[in-house]
């Protein structure tokens, strides 16, 4: 029995028009192990997982489950085998309750709603993930939503749990809790397939790892014997720089001055900002950490002018109040924005890259007397594509045809190339692979050194610690203090992110726990 592998994927191949997503991939998972699947954006991790879960059908190759060859034609089959999956973008319905969401997946097996609710409660508590079965998903935090997903899998006779980048949405404390749950699961014999970009998590948690690059397996290893550096090398290949040391800067005069910015919650799905105070100096990068849905969106909209608060006087830009100005007027003053949604707010999905480049850049020499200078626009688009290594067939590609990470590079490039005086970015490298992350960070740092004031809102703590000169957290519409990253232990930032500001300005000297993984 112990010689039989829990799962063996043999020679899996999947081809989409124009790209081979998976090319002869082999993957083995033992009983009770946590197996990491690593790779850059577009390396084929998601495709492989989808085939294992029956969402996508492989073109070639076999899947052997507990020693028997199986054909997983749809998710129900996978669940029947005991395979549960937590997608990166949760498969939850916001207007339904926890119980309803779980009942949908379990099917006939769910039984009576009342007994199901009791089962949910019992299982969730047993694994240290308390849940209220009656609440609507829309009222849950991201961490709680993830618990719903995991509990939903646990209610099956679970033998393999697939987690697609589970930690990217969690606070450090929540990550610890999740890891405890996973370890408890593996002790009971369940296997876990863990997909992540964060290499220190993999080295900490996983027993073995398979690395994909461009659809092919480029290595197997035991993460405990490797360093983040050596694993990253297997992921990106040899020719790309994967780390850069960031110098800190202290900044010059205060350039953007936000004093007592309060906004009302427009609906029950929004967060009210509670008297935000924040200064950003020329030539410094300020970072705001926080779990999504704690007011980041509202703060971004207030600063960018997407929500205009005509009668307030809270946001001062280079000495003048800009509260009443439209986004366009603010851009003309030298502000630039990289919003969280790439499609819809950062770019117009149907337009090609040239037009999208023009969108926020039209005050430069691209337009003369209202007429477009096509040659200059094309040159600008090509310049961004080349400088920021955007993978695309050409400047005539529609924005929506690019992968998320590539479009992000393009949007960041477009904004940075404006040479703004103030740059506001939301999740600048979200979903972007390591090679491109380095390029984006480099561009931001250079911009800072030229005197730009930069504000970054992100959930990626590694990134914030890496590039920011001062760092704080936003929770439920309230802003914490700001400290230099070196003076801010990860534990404390985690507390801030969870809304515990009491310890804010006390033990500034304590530096233990600061990014031991770097």
């Amino acid at each position: 029995m112990n010689n039989v592998k829990r799962l063996a994927m043999l020679g899996i191949t999947k081809e989409y028009p124009g790209c081979k997503a998976n090319d002869d991939v082999f993957l083995n998972i033992e009983h009770g192990e946590i197996h990491a699947l690593l790779g850059e954006n577009g390396a084929g991790k998601s495709t492989l997982m989808k085939m294992l879960y029956g969402v996508v059908k492989p073109d070639a190759g076999t899947i052997v489950w507990n020693g028997k060859e199986v054909s997983i034609s749809e998710p129900a089959v996978a669940r029947g085998l005991g395979i549960g999956m937590v997608f990166q973008h949760f498969s939850l319905f916001e207007t339904l309750t926890v119980t309803e969401n779980i009942a949908l997946v379990l099917g006939a097996e769910a039984g009576n709603p009342k007994t199901l609710a009791a089962r949910i409660k019992k299982t969730s508590e047993r694994y240290g993930m308390p849940l209220d079965p009656e609440r609507r998903i829309s009222s849950l935090s991201t961490g709680e939503r993830q618990r719903v997903e995991i509990v939903r899998c646990l209610l099956l006779d679970l033998q393999l749990l697939i987690l697609d980048e589970p930690t990217s949405v969690l606070t450090p404390q929540e990550v610890d809790d999740l890891f405890k749950t996973l370890k408890q699961l593996t002790k009971e014999g369940c296997s876990v397939l863990f997909i992540s970009h964060k290499l220190h998590e993999v080295t900490e948690l996983c027993d073995s790892a398979t690395i994909l690059r461009a659809g092919k397996v480029t290595g197997h290893c035991n993460p405990k014997d490797e360093t983040s550096e050596s694993i990253a090398r297997m992921m990106v290949g040899d020719d790309i720089a994967i780390s850069n040391e960031c110098r800190r800067a202290v900044g010059g005069e205060v350039f953007v001055d936000i004093a007592n910015l309060s906004t009302p919650a427009l609906s029950q799905f929004d967060i009210a900002l509670k008297s935000i105070n924040l200064q950003v100096k020329k030539g410094e990068i300020v970072g705001i950490a926080g779990i999504a849905g704690n007011g980041q969106d509202e703060l971004f909209k207030a600063l960018s002018g997407e929500e205009i608060h005509r009668h307030s006087k809270a946001i001062k830009f280079a000495g003048d109040f800009v509260d009443h100005l439209s986004p366009l007027a603010r851009r003309r003053l030298g502000m630039a924005f990289v919003p969280e949604d790439r499609l819809g707010r950062g770019a117009v999905p149907e337009l090609d890259l040239r037009d999208n480049a023009l969108l926020t850049s039209f005050d430069s020499d691209l337009v003369k007397h209202g007429f477009l200078n096509k040659a200059n626009i094309t040159a600008l688009a090509d310049h961004i594509i080349e400088k920021y290594k955007v993978k695309t067939a050409g400047n005539h590609d529609a924005a929506e045809s690019l992968s998320g990470g590539n479009l992000q590079k393009f949007i960041v490039g477009r904004e940075v190339e404006q040479e703004p005086l103030f740059l506001l970015m939301s999740h600048p490298t979200w979903g972007v692979d390591i090679g491109a992350q380095v390029a984006i960070h480099q561009a931001i740092l250079e911009l800072r050194d030229r005197g730009c004031a930069i504000l970054i809102v992100s959930e990626d703590l590694d990134e914030l610690y890496k590039v920011c000169d001062r760092l704080g957290a936003l929770c439920d519409g309230e802003l914490s203090d700001f400290l230099e990253p070196e003076a801010l232990p990860l534990v404390k930032l985690g507390q801030w992110m969870a809304g515990d500001f009491d310890t804010a300005s006390t033990n500034v000297e304590s530096k233990q726990g600061v990014l031991t993984h770097d």
Binding site: G54, V55, V56, K57, E74, P75, A76, R79, F87, F90, S91, L92, F93, E94, T95, L96, E100, A103, L104, V105, G107, A108, A110, P113, R136, S267, Q268, F269
Partner: protein
């Protein structure tokens, strides 16, 4: 105001509101699955003409209604094929269906204009009908009215307590997620669209067999459209659809009331009443945007196809 008048108003209000109730109920189920079918008017007209023709030749009310429903369903399948299978724009496909149904029903019904059929009688004869005020409204209705009451309860319970009702809501909120967790999105949408078609056909048949017992070209006169707005302004909630439909019924018979009370109001003004009254009340009810979000199918009208 005399008791008799009130009794008759209540009776006629329900009688008149029923077709609207049926269409709106069908369209609500359809929209809950995320499909916006603007072809209600056309499907109703086809149901009306088909029901009338079947009734005329067989003199059997049951067959008339079954035929009306089948034709409504066939029309909705045509829409489903274009909008779901071929992934065409749902708005355009629905509008085309209405135009198609309007023309085809006029063509098919040309020979039947002015023909006579037996009107659908009250379902039962009972002493209870003589109860003042509510007796007639509750106990003297025809079979389809009672069927509509059963359907209200069934649809309500379906969405409230049945797992498949949950599936329909899930598909309407996010088809991609629904598909990822293994729900048959296409099948659920087709079935919902077909239910909408059957209800529209039945409502059309009701108009030509039970309500006016005759066929005239374009006799649905915008009830399909008002049902569509009814669903939106009722924010996809059954109790409000019932309220809106009967309100429409009440406003539609205002001219009878005016006659009964010897008021002299322009008949044009009165003819406008049902549309205005229904809209005003429902708009007022749907002011609360936050509550609306809980019932609105998020993926409504968006084309979706499974990529594998």
């Amino acid at each position: 105001m005399d008791i008799n008048l009130i009794t008759n108003i209540l009776f006629a209000m329900i009688l008149t509101g029923t077709p609207l109730l049926l269409v709106a109920l069908g369209e609500m189920v359809c929209e809950k699955s995320g499909v916006l079918n603007l072809g209600q008017e056309g499907m109703m007209l086809m149901g009306a003409v088909a029901g009338f023709i079947a009734m005329y030749h067989t003199d059997n009310h049951f067959l008339g209604f079954v035929f009306a429903m089948l034709v409504g369903m066939a029309m909705s399948l045509l829409f489903g094929f274009i909008a779901l299978h071929l992934n065409a724009n749902q708005v355009a496909a629905g509008l085309a269906l209405t135009i198609f149904g309007t023309g085809l029903s006029a063509f098919l019904g040309n020979d039947y204009e002015g023909k006579q059929i037996t009107v659908l009688p009250a379902l039962v004869e009972t002493e209870l009908q003589n109860i003042p005020i509510i007796g007639k409204a509750l106990f003297a209705q025809n079979a389809i009215v009672y069927l509509s009451w059963v359907l209200i309860v069934v649809v309500y319970l379906f969405f409230r307590y049945h797992r498949q009702g949950l599936s329909v809501r899930a598909v309407g909120e996010d088809p991609t997620v629904a598909s990822n967790i293994g729900l048959p999105v296409m099948r659920i949408r087709y079935l919902s669209v077909m239910f909408g078609g059957a209800m529209a056909g039945l409502a059309g048949g009701y108009l030509s067999i039970a309500y006016t017992p005759m066929w005239t070209e374009g006799m649905v006169s915008g009830k399909g459209w008002i049902a569509l707005t009814l669903v939106v302004f009722a924010s996809w909630r059954i109790e409000r659809i019932v309220l809106g439909a009967y309100l429409f019924g009440f406003a539609s018979i205002m001219h009878l009331v005016a006659q009964g009370l010897n008021w002299s109001i322009s008949s044009n003004l009165l003819a406008m009443m049902p549309y205005v009254a229904t809209l005003v009340v429902l708009v007022m009810l749907s002011r609360d945007k936050q509550r609306l979000k809980l019932f609105e199918p998020m993926a409504l009208g968006k084309p979706w196809h499974k990529n594998s």
